[in-house]
C-alpha cells in the first residue's frame, strides 16, 4: 500500500480542511484513482461528502497510489491535518505520503520552506548545523499538529541569502478496511422542492450569527446557552431566500431577492421528467404565494459551522426539501462546469 503526492494547491487544501474540521474530528479520506474523497459523519449535525479531482489539491503527475483494491481508506484527524497544512501554505513545495512509524501508520507532510536572511550573518551563527530561529518557530507550530522534525541548512556563503527549512509533520492515521466502510452511504433524498444559488456566504454567515445571538440574548436565561436557537430558512423558485428567527420578544427576518434558481441540465432529464419534478410545481406557484416557499429549520450554531466553507469562495446551490432537509452543493471556484469538485452538505430539518 503506497501513497505519495506533491501538493499543488496547499492554500485550497488548508481552507478545505479548516471548513471540514469545524464539523467533526474524524474524517474518512478515500484515495482513489483520479479522485480524492473526504467524508465527515458526526454523531449529530451536518454530514459532508466531498469529492475532488486529484489535481484540485495534488500535482497529478506525482500522485502515486498503490493498493490491492486500487483504493486507500484512511481515518484522518482532520484538525491535525489542517494545522499541519497551515505551515505548508507559504512553502515552496510540500509532499504528503503514507508511511509507518513502528506499527502506527502516518501521513507525513514534508514541507520545504525558504526564507531570506538579511545582512552577511545576522544571527552570528558560524556553525551551519545549528537550528535557526525560523526553523524552531515553525517547528513549535508543527509540534502541536503531530510530531515534527526540523532541519535547516543555512548556506555557508556570506551576504543576503536564502535559507531552506525542511519541516516534516507526522499525522497518525488509521487505515480503514473495506469492511469498516461498506456500511457508509451517502444519504439519499427525494427531489428537492426548491433549488437556489445562495448569496455571499460571508454575508449570510454574519446575518445568521447575529440572528442566533439575538435569539440567545432575548431568552436571557440559563437554558439559552445549552439549547442552540433554530433558524428558519426558506426559499422559493422565484429567486427569494428568507432567513428568520422568532422568539418571545421579537420576530426578525431577512429576505434576499433576485437570486438565481439554476435550471436543471436537460441532458440528464427529459422534458417530461423535468415537468414531474416538485421544483417545477413550486415554480408554477406565484411568487407571493406562501405555498411556494420550501422551509427548513436548522440549528443556528451548526449552520454557522457549515457556512465557514465560505472561505473557499465557492458557488453554492441550496436544495430545499420542505420540512425535511437542506442539501448544499458547494462547488469550488474553477469547477463550476466540471462539477466533479463538489462538497455536499446534508442538513436535517428540525421539527417545529
Amino acid at each position: 500500500m503506497r501513497f505519495r503526492a506533491q501538493l499543488a494547491n496547499a492554500a485550497t487544501f488548508s481552507k478545505l480542511t479548516a471548513s471540514l474540521s469545524s464539523l467533526g474530528k474524524a474524517c474518512w479520506m478515500r484515495l482513489e484513482d483520479g479522485i480524492v474523497r473526504f467524508t465527515i459523519i458526526p454523531d449529530q449535525g451536518t454530514q459532508v461528502w466531498a469529492q475532488l479531482p486529484v489535481d484540485a489539491i495534488f500535482e497529478e503527475s506525482s500522485y502515486i497510489l498503490e493498493s490491492n483494491s486500487g483504493v486507500i481508506n484512511l481515518e484522518v484527524p482532520i484538525g491535525a491535518l489542517h494545522r499541519a497544512l497551515r505551515s505548508a501554505v507559504a512553502a515552496t513545495s510540500a509532499q504528503l505520503r503514507l508511511t509507518k512509524k513502528g506499527n502506527v501508520p502516518l501521513l507525513a507532510l514534508t514541507i520545504h520552506a525558504s526564507s531570506w536572511t538579511t545582512g552577511s550573518n545576522a544571527l552570528g551563527i558560524t556553525d551551519s548545523g545549528h537550528a535557526t530561529p525560523t526553523g524552531s518557530v515553525e517547528g513549535e507550530d508543527a509540534g502541536r499538529a503531530g510530531q515534527a522534525t526540523t532541519a535547516s541548512r543555512p548556506a555557508v556563503v556570506s551576504g543576503p541569502r536564502e535559507r531552506e527549512t525542511v519541516i516534516t509533520q507526522e499525522i497518525p492515521v488509521k487505515v480503514l478496511h473495506e469492511s469498516a466502510i461498506e456500511g457508509l452511504h451517502e444519504p439519499r433524498c427525494r427531489d428537492p422542492d426548491v433549488h437556489i444559488i445562495l448569496p455571499s456566504l460571508f454575508q449570510l454567515k454574519n446575518i445568521s450569527e447575529r440572528f442566533t445571538k439575538l435569539a440567545t440574548d432575548s431568552k436571557g436565561s440559563a437554558v439559552a446557552s445549552t439549547i442552540s436557537p433554530k433558524l428558519e430558512l426558506s426559499a422559493n423558485m422565484h429567486g427569494s431566500l428568507r432567513l428568520a428567527i422568532a422568539t418571545d420578544a421579537l420576530r426578525i427576518s431577512s429576505v434576499w431577492t433576485d437570486l438565481v434558481n439554476p435550471s436543471l441540465d436537460p441532458g440528464q432529464l427529459s422534458q417530461a421528467e423535468i415537468e414531474q419534478l416538485p421544483s417545477e410545481r413550486m415554480r408554477a406557484l406565484s411568487d407571493n404565494d406562501e405555498a411556494g416557499w420550501a422551509k427548513v429549520r436548522i440549528d443556528g450554531k451548526d449552520w454557522g459551522r457549515v457556512l465557514s466553507v465560505g472561505r473557499l469562495s465557492p458557488k453554492v446551490v441550496a436544495c430545499f426539501i420542505h420540512e425535511t432537509a437542506l442539501i448544499l452543493y458547494v462547488y469550488l471556484p474553477g469547477s463550476w462546469n466540471g462539477e466533479d469538485s463538489c462538497l455536499t452538505y446534508y442538513i436535517n430539518s428540525y421539527a417545529a
Binding site: I207, S218, L250, R251, I252, T257, D258
Partner: protein, 388 residues
Amino acid sequence: MADVEPIFSAVSSNAHHLYTLLQCVGFAPKATVLITPDGIRFSVEEGRVVQGLAFLEKALFTTYTFNPPVVPNSTSRDTGDGDDSSDTTDNPCFVVSLSALLETLKIFGVNDPSATGANKAVSVQPSNPSSSNAFTTPALLFDRSCTLQYFQNGSPLSVTLSETGIKTTCELTTYEPDGGEVDIPLQRDAIIMKVIMRSAWLHNAIVELGATNPNVLKISASANREPFFALSGSGGPFSESSIEFSIEEQSQKSEASSQSRKVLTDDGTSRSRAKRTNLAPTVTETFLVSPPSSMGSRIKQDYRFSLIQKASRAMAVANKVSIRGDRQGVLSLQFMIEVDVHGSSGASHGTRPSGGALGPTVTFVDFRFVPLLDGEDAADADSVGDLE
C-alpha cells in the same frame, strides 16, 4: 383613512444615527417607548434609581408620520428635550426589548466590507461591545434606509432595514408598560448646581476614577472655595482618588494642596480662553453653584459610581454635557449629541459639526440619578429626603 394607515411611520436614511443615540441608553435590556408628534422617546431605567432618556426628534427622520389613535394631541411641547412629554396620555406607549432593537439596527454593520465606502480603513469585525465611542465602531449602516412602523395599539414595533438585494424586517413584541414608569423628578425650580462643559472632560474623569473601581462617586462644588468642582471615587478596594477641575494657574493661585489629585487643565482649548472674572474651573462653560443656606458654601452629594458609569457611552459620544443637581440631590446629566442627518458621512467626523450647509441636528440624551443619602451604602429609591 386612519384604519389603513399606521399610527406611526418614520423613515431614516441613516440608521447609524438612531443606533448612536439609542446605544447611549442601552444599559438595560428593555426600554419604554413613547411616540409623540415631535419624535419618539426611549426611556430606560434600572431599579428606580437611574433613568436614561433618548429622544429621537422628528428632524432625524426623512419622513415622520404620526396619526394619533384617538384625538390628535395639540399640546405644544419643547422639542429636543423629552422632559415635558410625559403628560401625553393619548400617545402610544409600550415597552420593547432595547437590546434586540440595537442588535437589529447594526445588523448590516458587519456584512460587506466593499459596501462601506465611507470608511474603508476600518475593520470589518463586529463592533467591539466594550468600545465606548460609537464613532469608532466600524462603518455601520451608512446609506441604508431604516423604517420604523407601529400599526395600531398592541401591534409589534416593526423595524425594516433595506439594502440592495436584502430587506430585513424585525418585529419587536410590544409589552404594556407596567404603570410604574415614573420619571425621576428633577425639581427645575430648585436647581442648586449647573455646570456645562465638554462631555469629554466628564468622560475622562469617570474613566480615570473607574480605574480604582470605587463604589461611590462624590461630587463636590463650591462657588467661592477650592476645589470649585471635584469628583472623587471612594469605597472601592483601593484608596480614594479624586479629580479636581481647577482654575488656570495664572488666574488663580491654585497650589497643589493635595498630592493625589489630578488636574485636568493641560488642554489646548482651555488655554486660548480669555481670563475669567468669576471663580469657575477652566474647563466649564457655565458654572453656577448656589447652595441653600442649610448646606453651607459647598454642595456635596454622593452617587453610586456604577450607576454614573451607565452614562459613559453617552459621555463618550456627546459634545457637551449639562450637569445639574437639585435641592434634593437628584442629579441630571443632559448630553448634547450632534448628528449630521444631511450628510451620511457626518458621523465619522466625530462630535464636531461637519460644516455642511445644513449643519448637524442637535439631539439630547438625558440621565437622572437618585443620590445616595448620608451614611447609606445602598441607594434607596423611595427616599428623597433632605441632605445633611
